[in-house]
C-alpha cells in the first residue's frame, strides 16, 4: 500500500513538472535565432548548385520528387522559389517496442512509445550568378502512444540529403554540384 502511495505521489509530481515545463513559463533559448557554428556545414549538406537559370524546371522537378517520396504539397510560391510539403507516417521503432515490453514485463507499468510522425520539408530555389541553388530542409514531429509530442527535431542525416539530390539530379538530367 505504502509503495502504491509513493507511486501516486511520484505520478503527481511528474504531472506537475510537465505542466510547469510545457506550460507557459518557458522562454526562448538564447541561441534559437543565432547562427550556429555548424550553420555553414549544414547549408552545404542541404544545398546543391545546378548549372541552369531555369528555376521553374527545378521547382517542378522538386515538386515531382516530393510527390515520389510520398509528400503532399502544402504550399508553393514560384515567384520566390518555394515548395513546402508534409507527410504523416508511422513512427514505431522496433527497439522502443521491445524496450516497452521489457519494462512492462519487469515493472508492470506501460511506457508510451513513439507512434506516428509528421515529416515536413521545404525546397527553396535561389538563382545566383548563372546557376541556381536548391536547398531542402526536413524536420519532424513525433507523437507517442499517449498522443503527446515526444520529439520535435530537424532531420540532419547526410545520406537523406544525398539521396534527395541524387534523385533530383536524375529528374532534371543535370548534375548537382556541392557548394
Amino acid at each position: 500500500m505504502r509503495q502504491r502511495n509513493t507511486k501516486i505521489v511520484v505520478a503527481w509530481m511528474l504531472a506537475c513538472m510537465v505542466l510547469i515545463g510545457v506550460g507557459c513559463s518557458s522562454t526562448i533559448p538564447k541561441s534559437a535565432l543565432a547562427m550556429s557554428p555548424q550553420a555553414l556545414e549544414v547549408r552545404q549538406m542541404q544545398t546543391r548548385r545546378y548549372a541552369t537559370m531555369d528555376e521553374a524546371k527545378l521547382l517542378s522537378a522538386s515538386a515531382g520528387l516530393l510527390q515520389d517520396l510520398g509528400f503532399s504539397i502544402d504550399k508553393s510560391e514560384t515567384k520566390v522559389g518555394l515548395i513546402s510539403g508534409s507527410k504523416d507516417r508511422d513512427a514505431k521503432d522496433a527497439g522502443q517496442v521491445v524496450g516497452a515490453v521489457l519494462v512492462a514485463a519487469l515493472f508492470g507499468v506501460s511506457t508510451p512509445i513513439d507512434d506516428h510522425q509528421k515529416i515536413r520539408a521545404s525546397v527553396v530555389t535561389h538563382p545566383s550568378m548563372g546557376a541556381t541553388n536548391v536547398r531542402v530542409t526536413f524536420q519532424r514531429v513525433v507523437w507517442n502512444t499517449d498522443g503527446r509530442i515526444s520529439r520535435l527535431e530537424q532531420l540532419d542525416d547526410p545520406e537523406m540529403y544525398q539521396e534527395f539530390f541524387s534523385k533530383l539530379s536524375k529528374s532534371v538530367f543535370l548534375e548537382g554540384h556541392e557548394i
Binding site: 505542466l19 510547469i20 507557459c24 535565432l33 547562427m35 522559389g81 530542409t137 520529439r151
Partner: protein, 146 residues
Amino acid sequence: MNNMNRMTITVGLGMVLLAGTVCSGCASSKSQIMASDESQVQLRSIQSRAFDTTDRNKMLRTVMATLQDLGFVVDNADEMLGTVSATKLDRYALRMTVTVRPRGRGQTLVRANAQYQLRAVEDPEPYQQFYASLEKAIFLTAHAVD
C-alpha cells in the same frame, strides 16, 4: 494507512496549487487574441528594421535563405503580400512570420514576429540576432525604425 492517504492527498493538492500559481501569470482566455505584453510602438521597433533597397523579391528570398540557415523549414511565402512563415523544431517549436513592405521611396521595411511554444517573443535579443544574420546575407545595414 489513513495518515498515508491524507498525506498523499495533501501533497497532490499542494502540487496542483503550485502548478496553478505558476501558470496563472499567463492564464489563457479570449483576451489572448488581442493581447500583447509590450506596448505596440515598442514592440514594432523591436521587431522591425529598414533596409536601403527596393528589391522586394530579393529581400524575400534572402529572408527565406536566412531562415533556412537558422534551421527553419519554410512553411509558406507570398510574393504579392510580402510574407514568409517558417517553423523551427529543435526540442521546441519556434514559429516566425516575416513581412516585407516598401517604406518611403528607397527603403524596404522588414518586420519579424516570433512565437516560441505558446508565447509571443517580445524580448529584443532574438530579433537582434535574426537581423544580424539577415544583414550579412543581404550585404546591407539594418536601420532601426521608430
